[in-house]
Symmetry: C2
Subunit: 140 residues, 2 copies
């Protein structure tokens, strides 16, 4: 489907639950106790269990996939900064804005501003994503 500069896409607000963090730990193999052990996390500098940064980034990726399909996951470019930890029960929302579209070698190069905010306010992740989409041949 045709994409246009200025379009903004947002995900639903989702609440981060311990159960999802546990599943992510199992899938990714990252079992750091800061994500899994309430006692350990309480005594750490964070004062509570923190979601994996990549679990939050996965929500941005999921939104990019819903907009751009497999072209994102296979040939995308992502440049992000993690800004703040996300705790259990924080809600997060991902936001994608198309900032430019260029035609290059029969591909559309789509440049997006990406971000994730928690609790409707605090920036958690901010950055850019570039997606290359092959031009579809027009039928005459």
């Amino acid at each position: 489907m045709q994409k246009n500069v200025g379009e903004i896409y947002t995900s639903n607000n989702i609440f981060i639950k311990q159960n999802q963090i546990n599943k992510y730990a199992e899938a990714s193999g990252d079992n750091n106790p800061i994500h899994l052990d309430e006692d350990f996390a309480q005594k750490s500098n964070f004062g509570g269990i923190v979601a994996h940064g990549m679990l939050i980034l996965a929500q941005i990726s999921e939104l990019l996939t819903s907009i751009f399909g497999i072209n994102w996951a296979i040939n995308g470019h992502l440049d992000v900064r993690f800004r703040r930890p996300v705790y259990v029960k924080d809600s997060i929302q991902s936001i994608i804005e198309i900032v430019s579209i260029e035609l290059k070698n029969d591909k559309s190069k789509i440049n997006c501003k990406v971000s994730c905010v928690k609790n409707n306010d605090d920036l958690v992740i901010v950055g850019t994503a570039i997606i290359y989409i092959p031009e579809q041949k027009k039928e005459n």
Copy 2:
């Protein structure tokens, strides 16, 4: 622990299994059939089931966490390009090389080249990661 320019860290070679892709789909919410449905994937341009790009990126993140601890996940900067799809039964290995270390405002800014290769040869993901580590006060 003191880090030095030129140090190279590698993960074990791991084989991507459908079971892990299924777990990742559940944890991330990304249930695109290209990752889950063999018939669908066979008929697609890819010719078989493809792992989520973010699942592969998570392996790089896991290695960064093992080297830099929570400083990576909470305040890192990641700039990566997805280069090739990873299929079920491909083996992947992540590689991190420290390319520079600067002291900035009481933090070490550590710049790394990051990559993931499959089947010992093909680049799957390539990019850079920056980690900021607070300087530990020296005891006199």
